[in-house]
Amino acid sequence: MSHPSPSPVLSQGQNQGQPGIPAPAAYQVPAGTVDDVHAADGSIKPQWSYLLNSLQDLGPRLLTEREEKIRRILRDDGATYNLYGQDDSPGNAWELDAVPYIIGSEDWARIEAGLLERAELFNLILRDFYGPRTLLRHGALPPEALFSHSGFLRACQGIQLPGEHELILHAVDMVRRADGTMCVLSDRTQAPSGAGYVLENRTVMSRVFPSIYRESHVHRIASFYQRLRLKLTSLSPTDDLPCIALLTHGGQDESRFEYAYLANYLGLPLVQSGDLVVRNGFLWMKSLDGLTRVDVLLRRVDDLLCDPVELRSDSRRGVPGLLEVIRNGRVVVVNPLGSGVLENPILLKYLPEISRSLLGREPRLASVKTYWCGDASDLQFVTANIQQLIIKPVYRGSGLVSVWGGDLSAEQQAALLASIKKNPSQFVGQDRVEKTHLPTFTNGSLQPRPAILRTYSVATDSSYMVMPGGMTRIGNEPGGRVISMQSGSPSKDTWVTATEPERFIQSEATPDALRGDMDTGQISLPSRVVENLYWMGRYAERAEAGLRLLRTVFVLLNGEEPITIEARRILLQAVTKVTGTQPGFLNAPDALLASPDQELLLVIQDSGRVGSVKSTLNSMLASAEESKELLSTDTLRVINDLHDELDGLEAALAGGLASAPEEALDPLVTGLVALSGLMQESMVRSVGWRFMELGKRVERAEQIITTLGILTTPVAGEADRSTLLMALLTTMDVVITYRRRSRQRAGIELALDLVMLDPSNPRSLLFQLERLQQHLTELPGMITGNSALEEEERALLAAVSRLKLARLPQVLEITDGKRPAMDMLLKELDQLLLDFNTLISDKHFDHRTDVQQSLVANFGGAN
């Protein structure tokens, strides 16, 4: 099994001649750097040799290609991570290094045993803290270590989960020390993030390096997620099929990609606090079918924020009354509220005593040496050695960050020491652990980078299961001290390699098979998600209508035949009205009509202006983001393309509108058409799809009415008639049909017949209305064949009848240079559509009332 090859593995040999791409330098580690690959005698450790040999065989050119492929897949999957302090950015691409972290199975067995023990230990600590608190009475921990920690939520006293464990998910951040043993830096017990990214990393690596992955006999991680799913199910207080939901912060969440991915993989609806409500002592999700009872909540929201009645009262991310529902055992929240107390680093100092008290022995897995400033002698040590220590607040939500004393100036050190002395119990000092370096593919060669490993354990019926592997993150620089997702450190897949092939478990589905449209009607959808799909449909259609009209107007304005100022006015006003960017060209002076470029540019790319193409597309993308977990991979790819095109729009229009400006808009139109095609071809005909369609049809009908109103109700002069007719036909995409049919009939009557009444034209008004009627009958809660029509059905029926009964020659009659009958018809239809939209929204979407804290009594007769 061992491959004793003391020489550097990646030689420059065979690839030296490749032009353009630099050959990878051999993986050489500078003296003094602690490194995981080489043994003390300089030889390559056996677990690394297969991988490094294979990478050498690939050579730098192919490896660079694979690296590019990784990036592309991650981008297509929409893998992002929102960096702190960059809330308005659409998200940074998730970075995955091409070289996995290899851990041999014997080594892993030791780590795993330590992790299992640690999870059990932390579970017992949690149970004790919110129960009898014997650890304090037996002196294993000073009372202040617990009582002064903001993560200790007194309101959670006595809450117990069904089964053996309180702590369901336990994540541990650790580093490998120079002697090869692991050292724990911290525990994550609230809502450990990263498990979704691990899944994505594994999926990508196994696709990009299929043979290396296969031959390395990597332990599979899928069973971890199955265990999690099973555990969540077993926690349900009901015997019925439980409703398990994943509670997130919503759009601004730093790892929203991960949650959507995880929700999809586990088959759980993704909810935000506004989707949930406590009623009659139970927790419910507001869904289209009304309220759906929630039995288990996997939370990504910090516990302190989860219930504004009893916990942090200013929280907008919680569900009022949740804690009381939990207490009464009617919903189980994972990890339980209050579990953040285990992230207290003071515990690391006392862990040996705690472990002796609870397990009768010291923990196998070492923790970083920790000094608690609430302890007099530790405080003295920290004060004297601040330059050699990392100073950490004991509570992560305190707003303070960890600092390395050595980075501070003398004044900063003094200031830090002063705040420590003011509140010593709130700080710890920790030794800095020298991190082992791993080979990393950087700029075309293998470079050593320091690494941190986060592991994940999940409770099972009687014990815990550790995910084989985990999330490895690497520093951007050799020796770099700060490694965290928050600081944008790249990640690595972590491969625990088996010495013999692993048994294949039948029930394991591949991640890809699960990644599709989840919205199959199996799980209830929060009405927020459905509302977002509706608006996604509307915005996509609105953007497309605006773009089509703009293209038409550009072509006509710059066309071969000059057009009159009157036609110009009508066309430009059509732009304003269709995009909804009033006042724009309405009541515009002739000067503005003569040189409209400035305003037109704003209508396209001013994201601050409601109605501009960019703003509408941004709204569309935001709606897509809210319902991301329902969109297929292909749809996400198109969405990403639209993102990119939108980012590139300004550059494409940098030269102004002087030369063929319509070209710059084409990619956006193509993207929207692709999106609309995918909606037709790739989405399951579920409730979500229906609402997206409804939105699209309502919007298109409204756009047709608006366009007809401005282009046909004023009667243009003879010279302009054909210009405006062409504008109408082009915008409505019926030029060819018009030409074909114009042998029998011509002029505005044929055009209106095509655009308004032709039921076979998918862009006609009647077509939209009839589609709306169809979708309506399929919505949840609609009883078809009922003699009494629902209000929204009545509105549609009235619109369809009004349209079908219209006689075009009469509608087109001209009085005083106007078409009053046409005007009247369009106004009526517009009102009916507006009514329809309101009725649908009121019936199916959630309308939140303002929330406030009850006024609190002032004491002492002051009221």
Binding site: R154, V309, V851, N863
Partner: protein
Amino acid sequence: MRFRVRHITHYKYASRVSHCYNLANVIPRDTERQRCLKNRITVSPTPSVTQKRTDYFGNKSFHFEIQKPHTELIITADSEIQIDDLDQALDLDLGESYGHALELLAGTTSRATLEAREFLLNSPMIETSEALADYARPSFSAERSLKSCVQDLTTRVFTDFAYDPGFSTIATPLADVLAHRRGVCQDFAHLQVGCLRSMGIPAKYVSGYIETLPKPGEKKLVGADATHAWVAYFCPEEGWVEFDPTNNTIAKSQHIVTAFGRDYLDVTPVKGVIFGGGAAPILEVSVDVSRLTENAPVLGQPGG
């Protein structure tokens, strides 16, 4: 002594509240010197769910959820409490000295002492400070009995601070109260708790009621017809002792405890989240404490 207490909390809203979730601490708890014999809470409109439980501090919490639209919310708590005349006012000069109490607090591992150390720490509304310690220090000396030190501090707070209902709100910081020397019972209780903790003595915030009927020849007590607040401190050998800085007295049989906490936030009489309600809701609180005798009940002062 037996008392009947009626505590009414009345909210009026400018616009409709569609639903609300509330937590009330209006049921008197049992303590070493009192027992709550009866308690009945009526809420209007009728809640869809109500639940009583014992909280972390041993207080009785009452949770309720209303799903009916309303513009008024009335919570009426009727209680009967038996108070034993455990005379806390033993000779002030006997008992643990302040200095010895500090040693015991640091060195004793009895359960009561370990648990009392929680009340030495900062809490959401009370932060210990050098300024509070400076104010408290003249009342303390190592040899003096702790009880006498606390009595002296209580008297000084009573003397130095003006009772001024217009000065503070629940959000007024302790430092402002200390600087301006005025406030209401809640502020004085917070202040004295802060002073005691700053001097190394565990201290609790006590919320409750005080009997308002003046006895012949005695002054009417301030804090009448409202909820009241005072403090309790811990002495390792003697347990918890209550003092009332607003009335310059050790808590006697007229002090009816509702709840103990680290500060007001732990024992807020009624808190919650409402949906709707509009701007500037109005809150009226009225408390009636009446003494019951074997024969005829004595009527208390009207609330409000």
